[in-house]
Symmetry: C2
Subunit: 256 residues, 2 copies
């Protein structure tokens, strides 16, 4: 049994953040997969570990940690292995600036579109009474509201338009930043790259008019470079949703 | 001329975060006060410094930094003086967990109530054509939307109720956490205390049913302890809004 147990869904978005950080550091962890589409994260057994019913969560010895970005900094500061934060204070500020932007601005927009287009439809066909019961047991009121919106398709056209607007702006900002240097926050791979990859790999798939080789060449190169890293390859072996595991492969460079 | 210039409004909320961090570290800075109620932050001269038109912003030599939480970590890591982040990784994680919760969950709710009850009414009496022109020059679309809502009182009852619900939960969480230790994130004063004070000092004033000596004694003691710190006293001398400068004094302990 490893010292670290990670409770996670697919190796993307928030779950993918500590997964990538641990894999990059070379830290072995016990993987505890929770099926978000089956609402496993609100199961009474899991609520004993994380009463908020959010994923990811990580236990390290007797300590339980939540919040994926703070968790990544913890992983970087606690374990040996390559440093995933730069040493220079300005670079560190830039990494944190981007993570804040990703978490607070980009992720909610990407997530609304993802819930509207994938997660909602994926669970909507379930037995209505089961769905109702599953929603009722969600501990946090705002998560109940979010799930209801996704399941019953209650996002307003105004909300979706605002999310699409933010995705477009965010994509352009990523491309602009990546035209300045090889990685998003500094000259070396950092937590901001791990954070950003998990959000951004879906853009060329879901919104190919925003991100493609002609329009956003630096973003595409950055995604491919991160995808081919051993840590990224390693965490994607933990994917159990076939559609996701298959689709991410568009980032593989063709054999010469 | 100091090496650091800080562009800020009142010594509370986001502006107060780097102000407190700099003052706690003993770093001299040139104070550049921007009147939020006069929309100074969208003035063309300021947009040359920070094109996003947000406050606070800080220049350190030739470097311009934004985003108040990342800026506080930069201040702590760059300048000598007392450490405002704990050394232990779990404590560091807890400080960051709280700052994330404050920035993403508490601050938007507090801010909506503050805009609805103070900032909106404070600017609403201006010449309508001037207001319209001031809104039009705001660089970020979502800030234009937020200002329109505040000025024309367009927050829905549902939005306000949700903000009040979050304030109540957040206040109870702060009280619970402060019953465990003297400071919010670790056993020593940290950036989380600076961040939290700037948000929470207004609760006993604006929502006395949520925070008072009977219901939240630990929160009240924590606010008073932070208020009497020399750094807090120092930054409040920079306040120019009489109502704010006067009201915060409720935290002064009565002379024996």
């Amino acid at each position: 049994m490893a010292e670290v147990t990670l409770y996670h869904w697919e190796p993307n978005a928030n779950s993918g953040k500590p997964m990538l950080a641990l894999a990059e550091k070379g830290v072995a962890f016990d993987s505890h997969y929770l099926d978000l589409l089956n609402f496993d994260q609100h199961d009474p057994d899991y609520l004993k570990i994380n009463p908020a019913g959010t994923i990811p969560a990580m236990t390290h010895g007797s300590r339980m940690l939540t919040e994926s970005t703070a968790m990544m900094e913890y992983v970087d500061e606690t374990f040996p292995g390559p440093k995933l934060m730069p040493a220079d204070p300005v670079d560190r500020w830039r990494v944190r600036w981007w993570m804040k932007f990703m978490d607070q601005w980009l992720a909610p927009s990407f997530s609304m579109l993802g819930w509207s287009e994938f997660i909602g439809p994926a669970v909507r066909s379930r037995d209505p009474d089961v769905l109702k019961a599953r929603i009722e047991r969600i501990p946090m009121e705002e998560r109940r509201v979010a799930w209801r919106k996704a399941i019953y398709n209650q996002f307003s056209e105004e909300e979706l338009a605002e999310s699409r607007r933010r995705c477009a702006i965010g994509t352009a900002m990523l491309e602009d930043e990546l035209s300045k240097r090889a990685w998003i926050g500094s000259n070396d791979y950092s937590l901001a790259d791990a954070n950003g990859f998990n959000l951004a790999y879906i853009i060329p798939l879901g919104q190919p008019h925003l991100a493609n080789d002609e329009k956003t060449p630096h973003l595409m190169e950055w995604l491919r470079k991160i995808y081919e890293r051993p840590a990224t390859q390693e965490i994607w072996t933990l994917s159990r949703v076939e559609r996701m595991r298959t689709r991410v492969k568009f980032l593989a460079r063709e054999a010469a």
